[in-house]
Amino acid sequence: MSRRMLARRRPHASHGQVLPARTSRRAIVLPSRSSRSAAAGHRKSPYSISTDGPTEVQEVVATRAVKAGRADSESRRYQHQTVAKPLRRGSSLRKSTTPVRSRRCQRSVRSDSRGGRQPSVLRVGPRETGPSAAGPRRRNRRTCPVSFDLGPVVMQCTSPATCAENYQAAPLPSRSRGRLRWCGSVVDFAVGERSNPGSGSNGSSRRRDLQERPVGPAEGRTESSVAGPRWATRAQREKRRKKRKKLRLSRLTSETRSANVRARRRAPDHSVTDLARRAESGERAPAATDSPARVHRDPSARRAVDHVVAHSLLPLLGCVINALFGRRLQASGFGAETSKKLHIGSFGVSLVAVGAMVRRVRPFRLPCPQLAALPHEARYLYCHAWEMVRIGSVEFDFELRSRPAFVVMILIITGVGSLIHVYAAATWRPKRRTGVSSRT
């Protein structure tokens, strides 16, 4: 179904009339952007758009809200146009035709329906993987989306865990502009400027295009942001791409380019630091100056990640040392002591990590109440070691994560392990120290 065909099908959408009452059929849409470019910077393409529309599953190319009523902000009679094209076959959307909503989400949507008309819902958030996405999945936790109410279009995150909280700060004072942040990128939304209020009274009113433009320092940009928003028209996207290319070439020195690459390779662990910083400064809405590169440069995040890595790496180090030099070390009488120290060191690292968790990742700067003020989903240390497998949109990364509940288990493991070390070393009575060959 091409765009023209769709316009023929729904002629009212282009004539500026109020759309009839919409059915409850819902279509969830994924962008057709290649997952390769979207995956740059360890980031899924963030758009998972679902519309309460009368049409079947389709890809929303552009969504336009046309103000039709009076000029005051009380009037919320918007006309809604959806330029859509059919979904590509074989895309990973197939799995996610049933959007998952939390109860809070549904309530917030319902409260926005006015005049007996269900508002169309434009959902922006992580790509959903099916009904099981309601649980604490990694993809949901990575994002920090905020929902927006732009007239008839309610933008909300698809992450049920964070949606309920973020929606509190979501309604904008002015319906014309908004700032959205998810997957570490800051996006400005502008429901275009009303240039001439007097002329916008009838069907010839100016369109208020829903535009999106990523902001932030140049090093925070990735290829996915260069590719342009999903609901811009093709000409707009082309224009923007040229503009950005020009801008990038002029701005991007070799230094920032390498920083860009580094930021892309690094894990988006902003859930640790960004939320902590937000809780520290007391702000609820996302800050405009946040960029993934800046977040990752936060040393406290690195420190937290180091704890997580050291948990698992110290026993591995002990294992490797024992396997390689154990025989010789045992013969020299030095090996048991080293192994013991390594493992007790691991236990000590666990204690330090517990302390870091309790003191809110930044050990000496954040008090406990602000730690408790963080959402439940943000109370964890996250370490993205490396990317293992990436098949299309499916990815398997080597990631470690420690939560307060996990830390209890870590303490048990390392504590019991160190006890075993102590007792085993105590029972060892080296009788002969003659040499390697005689011992084994």
Binding site: S312, P315, N322, L329, F396, L400, I410, I413, T414, G417
Partner: protein, 42 residues
């Protein structure tokens, strides 16, 4: 156990076990968790 000669082997396996247990606990995905599980059972 006191008469055992190759203590280093015991400590090697013990450390490997602890490492894989930690991996099992800290893993985010099923693949890493499976690594931890498989090595733990070694």
């Amino acid at each position: 156990m006191a008469t055992e000669k190759a203590y280093w082997r015991f400590f090697t396996y013990l450390n490997l076990f602890v490492f894989s247990m930690l991996l099992l606990v800290l893993a985010t995905g099923f693949i890493v968790m499976f690594f931890g599980w498989g090595r733990r059972a070694l």
